[in-house]
Amino acid sequence: MRLAACALVLTAVTVLVAQERSFLACPIVRDTKTVPCFLAEYDGELYFLGIQQDITADFHPPQLKHEVLVEGRVKDGPRVCGGIPLAPVSVSVIKEVNPGCNTLLPAEPGIEAPPAARGAGPASHRLREPAPASESLKGPQEFTVLYQFNDDYVEFASIGTVRRAAGYAMKIGASAVKVMGYRGTTVLSNGERLVEKDGLAEKRAQDIATLLRGSAVTGVTADWKKEPEPGDGKTDPSRRRVTITVIP
């Protein structure tokens, strides 16, 4: 009975681990009647990452001419655009050019992209503005800016986060705003570990501090953790970050 229970636990762990996918691959772009789908192949299987959307969307597609680091979790349900859906999923464009990553597939009958908030033509509704500073916030608050792997580019959504942090700091007349930068480690599904480059935590922290100071926030200090954060193959994207702590 105890053995059976142990086996059940082990099976559950195995299944849980097996749901995570973390790999490097060339992205594949699949055209459809509407917007293109972005896919990637790993270990003989095709995964659906997302569709082309607008700059305000949470999903930012990968790029041909570059490998992509995919970190996601298999989502139950039917295939999408021919691939097994990953959600949540994080994609990081690897900076070095790889001309071999160049697969663009034509639209085919029966392969359709999921509904898109915006099609491939001009928008039919106004852009979604970044969420305004919450009126309900009180006391010390931490805001988190996330990054793609080995990148210090502050994306559209992160600009909104910096604006919200700056707005809150200004609103409460913050006595201090502490910026802390981190770099991460990614554990790939094949067991390999990828560590973000030296100096990236400092660069991220200094850049965010500059943006805050440039937004008229005072009392900004920047610090960073030189050593990389550990990886676990599950939550690695959440540790490539800068935290902004606003103290009343």
Partner: protein
């Protein structure tokens, strides 16, 4: 006549025949004439409308029309109302022949291929005469406003130097004041409320702070020049007077204010098409003509189907042949989907590569077709292999070629990697960043018929060549008729 042209199937080429009948419209500095509040000036595609929204302008003693430097030039030399507040290459050739090359627009400093060339020879001014390009000498490495050097991510070598200026011991990259000479078209000094609008504290395309207006401290649009090196109209005027006009002393605050005030009230756009007739139509699109530019609000996003960049042209469909052509061209601009590929600061900012979209995705600012975001983009005109120039060894090669080598620690160019061959590093000469190599700020699409050639490097002699470049670059698969439609649409702006 129109039927004959249609039978010949040469709607665009035929329009060029009208060039020879134009009246002389060049304004010389200090000529003292008065600019009317509303003017219409012929060009090969019809008429350009120019509005002085503050009323008639007395140019006598006006700082925009008066030489403030040592070479006889005034702002108006390069920003002529008849040429959409820029200048056309054809108008420059006319000036060369009319003045024997003595017009101050041909000043050795930047109106010739290099100041150390024999200035009385036409070939020493070939880039200005053939392509409307002025020399832009930029310090290398780039400098901050306080004169300190900016950090740079790449080294730069001269690979080809047909003008001789980049290898010149006096003016070149290895001179006592290391300088990179690039060659660019002057931008229109009209419709500027649109160009300077939309400054955001953080630039979407870089995730970095925008430059600030030194007078007001407010973030600026960074859309003002081809490399966004000047933050405001006032600093641009100061820089132009000290550089292009070779002033020995700084202009007064009153003179600068006068220039900025004049530039801020000029609106220019095509008002009449040589075949389609008057373009201002009560039932037509809202965006045509200078009065619309004067009256509409700046900073409006037009990449949508409910309030598009230049309005809807539906009422022109199925009517007059040329109006219908313009309307079809407008539809291509707004709605024709194609793969936007390998364009830095479009594909590389989170939109994905490739991106299935339309012209209006990038040319999204209502009324001008610029980019509402700080708009430098590597569309491919400057960088090998998509550049507009012939092979490096070709005798017809006119522009310098630079080899850019990115440092190992820097992010490479997103689509060309760590070694890039370019005729103009563009924004990278200001930012020092590899990712910016070849990127040029998008320019407004107004008054185009008056100010050929096109692109910052003057490589498209006419609107059809401009359309051909995009068709090749992005594999748009436009038919010959669609290319003509798109060119006719652009010519109506």
């Amino acid at each position: 006549m129109r039927k004959v042209l249609l039978l010949l199937g040469l709607p665009i080429l035929a329009a060029a025949q009208y060039q020879s009948n134009l009246r002389i419209t060049w304004i010389e500095p200090g000529s003292g004439e008065t600019l009317p509040a509303v003017d219409e000036i012929e060009n090969y595609l019809g008429k350009l409308g120019v509005i002085q929204s503050s009323g008639p302008v007395d140019t006598a003693g006006h700082p925009f029309f008066t030489p403030l430097g040592t070479n006889g030039r005034a702002c108006v030399n390069c920003h002529q109302p008849a040429y959409g507040m820029s200048v056309s290459a054809e108008s420059l050739r006319d000036r060369w022949h009319a003045t024997g090359g003595k017009d101050p627009v041909f000043a050795a400093f930047d109106g010739s291929n290099c100041p150390d060339l024999p200035q009385d020879q036409e070939k020493s001014h070939s880039l200005l005469l053939n392509r409307g390009l002025f020399r832009i000498p930029l310090p290398w490495p780039p400098r901050n406003a306080d004169g300190s050097q900016k950090p740079v991510e790449f080294s730069i070598e001269v690979v080809r130097d047909p003008t001789g200026c980049n290898l010149s011991p006096k003016y070149g990259l290895k001179s006592a004041n290391p300088t990179v000479s690039v060659y660019r078209r002057p931008r229109p000094a009209a419709n500027l409320k649109y160009v300077i609008s939309g400054g955001q504290n953080i630039v979407l395309k870089t995730g970095m702070l925008a430059d600030r207006d030194p007078e007001t401290g407010r973030p600026v649009s960074m859309n003002l020049m081809s490399d966004a090196r000047e933050p405001s109209l006032l600093t641009q005027a100061m820089s132009a007077i000290m550089g292009h006009e070779e002033a020995s002393k700084a202009p007064s605050g009153k003179q600068l204010e006068g220039i900025v005030a004049f530039e801020s009230q000029v609106y220019a756009a095509q008002v009449e098409h040589v075949f389609a007739g008057p373009l201002i139509d009560r039932d037509g699109p809202f965006g045509l003509g200078p009065a619309a530019l004067r009256d509409r609000k700046a900073g409006v996003l037009g990449d949508n189907d409910f309030d598009p960049v230049f309005g809807l042209f539906d009422s022109w469909k199925g009517k007059d042949y040329y109006r219908a052509s313009i309307a079809r061209g407008a539809d291509i601009f707004m709605f024709r989907q194609f793969w936007l590929r390998d364009a830095t600061h479009i594909n590389s900012i989170g939109l994905g590569n490739p991106l299935k979209r339309t012209c209006a995705t990038c040319h999204n600012a209502q009324m001008t077709g610029q980019d509402l975001s700080a708009g430098w983009v590597d569309v491919g005109t400057n960088n090998y292999p998509t550049w507009t120039e012939p092979d490096t060894w070709a005798e017809s090669a006119e522009l310098p070629v630079f080899k850019i080598t990115c440092q190992k620690a820097a992010d490479p160019h997103p689509y060309l990697g760590r070694v890039i061959y370019t005729t103009d590093p563009g924004r990278a000469l200001i930012s020092g960043r590899c990712v910016d190599v070849g990127s040029i700020v998008m320019q407004q699409l107004r008054g185009l018929a008056a100010r050929a050639p096109y692109f910052a490097n003057g490589s498209a002699k006419n609107l059809r060549e401009l359309v051909d470049f995009y068709d090749r670059r992005f594999d748009m698969k436009l038919s010959e008729m669609e290319k003509d439609d798109l060119a006719n649409f652009l010519g109506a702006l």
